[in-house]
C-alpha cells in the first residue's frame, strides 16, 4: 500500500508540473481580449469600451450601424478602437484599464459608458455578469499564470469563480430609493410573454429606482478607473448612457427623473472630485430614440436615431476634451 500511495503522490506532482505548462496554453483565450491586443498593436489612440447600448437590438431594424461605427466616422482624426459586450460594466472595465495601463502600447484616451442599470442588483449581482474568468485573463504576473494553469482543475473540484451563487443573487434585496421592496426573485419574470403594467413597473423599479451610494462597488471601480487614468496619462471620458425616461415616467410620475438625476449627480460629483470628465446623457434623448419593445420594459437600448444622436454628443465631447 505504501508503494501505491507514493506512486499516486508522484503522479499527482507530475500532473501539477505538466499542468503548469499545459494549462497556461489551453486556457481559452477570450476573443475580445485577443481583439484588444490586436487593436493596441495596431496603434489606436482612443478606445471605446461599450455595452448593450452600442448595438442594434431589434431584429427588423434595417440600419444596424453600431454607436462605435457612427462615432468613428464623426471623429476622422482619431484612431478609434472598439471593445464592447452586452453586459459589460464598471468592474470589467477596471480590469481592462489596468491591462491597458500595463501594456507597452500606450493609448491616449478611453471612452466608457456608465449604464445606470449596471448598478442595479439584477445586473450587479447576476452570477454570469461577474466576468471572473476574463478578470483572471486580464491579470498579469505569476498569480495570473498560476490561475490560468489551474483554472480548469480547480473548477473541476468545484472551486468556482462565480463569487455570487444563483441563490444569493435571487436573494438580493431590491430598493426603491432607500425603501426595501422585496428581493430580485420577486421581479424575476424577465422572459414572461404575458406581462402586466405591474410587471413593467416592477422591472423599472428593479433596474433604476435604487438610490446609488458612493460605497457601491461599481462606483469604487469607476473611481479606480479615473485614478489609474491619471496615473498613466490616459484620459478617461465617462458618459452616462441615456434612458427612455419619458416612458419610465409613465410608471413613476415625477419620481423617475428625480431618482435618475440624483444618481447621475452623485456620479458627476464624485468624478468631478477626481478631475475626470463625464457627459450626462441620462435624460438627453426622447422616447423616439429607443427601441425596447422586445424586452417589454423601457430601458436604455437605442435605435439608429438614438445611436446617431449619442454618436454626435460623444464626438462633440471628445473634441471638447481634446
Amino acid at each position: 500500500m505504501k508503494a501505491l500511495i507514493l506512486k499516486l503522490a508522484l503522479l499527482f506532482i507530475l500532473v501539477i508540473l505538466v499542468q503548469l505548462v499545459v494549462g497556461h496554453h489551453t486556457f481559452e483565450i477570450d476573443s475580445r481580449i485577443d481583439s484588444l491586443d490586436k487593436q493596441l498593436k495596431e496603434g489606436i489612440d482612443t478606445l471605446y469600451l461599450g455595452d448593450c447600448t452600442n448595438t442594434s437590438h431589434r431584429k427588423w431594424e434595417r440600419d444596424r450601424r453600431t454607436l462605435a461605427y457612427i462615432l468613428e466616422r464623426k471623429i476622422p482624426g482619431y484612431k478609434l478602437g472598439v471593445l464592447t459586450f452586452n453586459s459589460y460594466h464598471m468592474d470589467i472595465y477596471l480590469e481592462f484599464i489596468r491591462y491597458i495601463a500595463k501594456s507597452k502600447h500606450k493609448i491616449k484616451r478611453v471612452i466608457i459608458p456608465i449604464n445606470l442599470r449596471s448598478f442595479s442588483p439584477s445586473w450587479d449581482r447576476m452570477p454570469q455578469y461577474q466576468f471572473e474568468k476574463e478578470k483572471i485573463l486580464l491579470k498579469r504576473g505569476i498569480y495570473a499564470l498560476f490561475l490560468r494553469a489551474f483554472y480548469r482543475p480547480l473548477r473541476l473540484l468545484g472551486i468556482d469563480w462565480y463569487t455570487i451563487s444563483r441563490e444569493e443573487y435571487l436573494d438580493t434585496p431590491v430598493f426603491n430609493g432607500t425603501l426595501r421592496c422585496g428581493k430580485v426573485c420577486d421581479y424575476n419574470r424577465i422572459y414572461s410573454k404575458k406581462y402586466s403594467k405591474e410587471d413593467i413597473k416592477g422591472k423599472i423599479l428593479l433596474f433604476y429606482m435604487f438610490s446609488l451610494s458612493q460605497e457601491h462597488r461599481k462606483i469604487r471601480s469607476m473611481l479606480s478607473i479615473a485614478g489609474i487614468g491619471h496615473q498613466n496619462n490616459i484620459q478617461i471620458l465617462f458618459y452616462i448612457t441615456p434612458i427612455d425616461y419619458q416612458s419610465c415616467e409613465e410608471y413613476f410620475q415625477g419620481e423617475f427623473t428625480k431618482r435618475i438625476n440624483e444618481n447621475s449627480s452623485l456620479i458627476k460629483n464624485l468624478l468631478k472630485k477626481e478631475k475626470t470628465a463625464v457627459l450626462d446623457l441620462s435624460t438627453a434623448l426622447d422616447s423616439s430614440c429607443f427601441t425596447w419593445k422586445d424586452t417589454f420594459y423601457p430601458n436604455e437600448q437605442l435605435n439608429i436615431s438614438g445611436r446617431e444622436k449619442v454618436g454626435e454628443y460623444l464626438s462633440l465631447f471628445l473634441k471638447e476634451h481634446n
Binding site: 501505491l4 503522479l11 500532473v15 505538466v18 480548469r152 473548477r155 473541476l156
Partner: protein, 490 residues
C-alpha cells in the same frame, strides 16, 4: 449524486478507505450502506420503492425455495415478475408521455432482479437467505446507475470472498477509471456539443451537418456508455470485485448478430436467456401443438424471426415507451432476422464469388456495412420524435446526392456544413475529429485485455508519460458540467 462529481469522488474515497480497513464480515454491509446512501440521494420515494421491491423479491424467492409445489413456485415467480415489470411499465409510460425523469437505474435493477428470480425458479441458484446480501446485489453502487447487468450467481459470492490488498487490481482499476473518464468527458461530451443541437432541431441544419451529427452520435453513444462501464468496472476492481465488461469492439462486428454479441453484452445475454430463448421455446411448442405434420421442424426460421423481432422490439421499449425506441428495436430485430434467414445463401455466395485474396477487403466491407446499418438506426434511438427520425434518415440517405450537387456550387462541399461549425466552432470541430480518431484507436486497443495490456508492455517512462497525458487531457479538454450518461436515463 452524479458519478462525475466531486461529491462522488469524496464518497468513493470514503467507501474505499472504509472497505480496505474494515473487518471482512463488515465489508458487505459497508458496501450495502454505501449503495443505499448513493441511491437515497436520488430521492426518498424512489429509495422506498426500491426497498419495497427488494423485499418482495426476497419473500418470493424464499417462497419458491420453501415449497415443493411447481404451481406455487410459478405463482411466486409470476407475482415477482408482475411487480418488477409493473414497476418498469408503471414508470416508463408516464415518463415517456410527460417527459418525467425515471428513478435512477430503474431498468437496470429491475433486470437484475428478474434474472435473480428466474434463476431461483429454474434452480440455477439458491435463493439468498440473507436479505441484506440480496439488497447489496441490487444496490451495488458501481452498477446501479447503468449496469452492467450481472447475474446474482456471479456477483453475490464475490461479496463474501476474503478481500486482500492487490496492487495490480487497484492500479488496473484506477487506469480503467481514467480511461472511462477520457471516453466520457473528452470524447462523448465533446461530440454531444455537435450532436445535441442537430437532434434537437434537425430542420435548421444542412445535410452535411446532419450526416456528421449522425456519425458523431454513433461514436458518442459508444464512448459514453463504454466510458461509464469502464468507470464501474474500475471501481469494482479496486474493491476486489470482478464485474463483466459490456463491450468488445462492437463497431468491428462483421454482421448485426455479431454486433449484438459485442454491444451491451450483459443486456444482450440477458435478453437471450430470459426473453429470446423462452419466446423461441414458446413459439416452437405452439407450432408443435397445432402442426400435425411435424412442420415445426422446418420452421426454425419463422420461430427465429418472431422471437428475435419481438425480443428486439421489447429491448427498444426497455429504453423508453416511445415510438422511436420501438422502431429502433424493431428494425434491429428485422436485421437480425434477415441475417439469420440469409446466412446459408450468403455463405454459399461468398464461397463462390469471393476469392481468398479478397477475404480481408470483404471483411472490411462487411464491417463498414454493419457500422452503417447500426449508425442509421441510432437515428431512431436519438431522435426526439418519429417524424424527426424519418427526416434525418432521408437527409442522410440523400447526402451523397447533395455532396454531388454541392461540388458544382461556389462554396463546394462547405455549403453543406452549418456556418458556425466552419466558423466560430471550427477549433471545436477539429478537436472532435481528433476525438473520433482517438476513439478508433481506443476501439482497437481495447479487446486484448484493454488498457492494462497496453500499458504494461511499455517502458516505465513511457507508461508514466501516458498516465500523465491522460489526466492532463481530461483536465484540459474535458467538458465539465453535469452532463448525464446517456444510459442513466433508462
Amino acid at each position: 449524486m452524479h458519478i462525475l462529481s466531486v461529491e462522488f469522488l469524496l464518497f468513493l474515497m470514503a467507501v474505499l478507505g472504509g472497505y480496505t480497513f474494515a473487518p471482512q464480515r463488515v465489508r458487505p454491509y459497508l458496501l450495502l450502506v454505501a449503495g443505499l446512501f448513493f441511491y437515497f440521494q436520488s430521492g426518498t420515494v424512489y429509495f422506498a420503492i426500491l426497498m419495497g421491491s427488494i423485499l418482495i423479491d426476497y419473500l418470493c424467492s424464499t417462497g419458491i425455495n420453501r415449497t415443493d409445489s411447481q404451481k406455487e413456485k410459478r405463482y411466486y415467480l409470476l407475482f415477482s415478475l408482475f411487480c418488477n415489470i409493473g414497476l418498469l411499465i408503471g414508470f416508463h409510460i408516464p415518463a415517456s408521455l410527460f417527459h418525467l425523469i425515471l428513478p435512477l437505474g430503474l431498468s437496470f435493477y429491475v433486470f437484475k432482479k428478474i434474472s435473480y428470480m428466474v434463476d431461483v425458479y429454474r434452480g440455477v441458484i439458491l435463493p439468498e437467505k440473507n436479505p441484506f446480501l440480496l439488497g447489496l446485489y441490487v444496490t451495488f453502487f458501481p452498477q446501479i446507475e447503468s449496469g452492467p447487468i450481472q447475474r446474482a450467481g456471479d456477483l453475490i459470492p464475490q461479496f463474501l470472498r476474503e478481500y486482500t490488498f492487490d496492487y495490480g487490481k487497484i492500479t488496473g482499476g484506477l487506469k480503467l477509471i481514467a480511461w472511462g473518464l477520457l471516453k466520457k468527458i473528452v470524447i462523448a461530451d465533446r461530440l454531444a456539443m455537435f450532436t445535441n443541437p442537430v437532434f434537437r432541431n434537425p430542420g435548421s441544419y444542412p445535410s452535411g451537418g446532419i450526416g456528421l451529427a449522425v456519425l458523431f452520435y454513433s461514436f458518442q453513444v459508444y464512448a459514453d456508455f463504454s466510458g461509464y462501464t469502464d468507470i464501474a468496472v474500475g471501481i469494482a476492481q479496486i474493491i476486489g470485485i470482478d464485474i463483466p465488461d459490456n463491450f468488445n469492439r462492437p463497431y468491428s462486428a462483421t454482421g448485426i448478430a455479431q454486433f449484438w454479441r459485442r454491444w451491451h453484452m450483459t443486456l444482450s445475454t440477458w435478453l437471450r436467456d430470459y426473453l429470446f430463448l423462452p419466446l423461441a421455446v414458446f413459439f416452437s411448442n405452439t407450432i408443435k401443438h397445432f402442426s400435425k405434420l411435424n412442420a415445426y421442424k422446418h420452421m426454425d426460421g419463422l420461430i427465429y424471426i418472431f422471437s428475435s423481432t419481438l425480443t428486439m422490439t421489447l429491448c427498444g421499449l426497455w429504453h423508453g415507451f416511445t415510438w422511436t425506441f420501438m422502431v429502433w428495436g424493431f428494425f434491429h430485430g428485422i436485421l437480425l432476422s434477415l441475417a439469420f434467414i440469409t446466412r446459408k445463401s450468403r455463405k454459399h455466395l461468398r464461397k463462390k464469388l469471393i476469392p481468398k485474396t479478397m477475404k480481408t477487403p470483404y471483411k472490411y466491407i462487411r464491417i463498414l456495412l454493419t457500422f452503417s446499418n447500426v449508425t442509421l438506426l441510432w437515428i431512431f434511438f436519438r431522435a426526439q420524435t418519429l417524424q424527426d427520425a424519418w427526416f434525418l434518415l432521408r437527409r442522410v440517405i440523400m447526402l451523397p446526392l447533395d455532396i454531388f450537387n454541392s461540388l458544382t456550387g461556389k462554396d463546394g462541399i462547405l455549403s453543406l456544413m452549418p456556418e458556425e461549425w466552419i466558423g466560430k466552432s471550427l477549433s471545436k470541430l477539429i478537436i472532435v475529429i481528433v476525438c473520433m480518431i482517438l476513439m478508433y484507436i481506443i476501439h482497437y486497443i481495447q479487446p486484448h485485455d484493454g488498457m492494462r495490456e497496453m500499458f504494461s508492455k511499455r517502458h516505465r517512462v513511457i507508461r508514466w508519460m501516458l498516465y500523465v497525458l491522460i489526466i492532463v487531457v481530461i483536465i484540459n479538454f474535458g467538458v465539465f458540467g453535469d452532463v448525464p450518461f446517456i444510459y442513466t436515463q433508462f
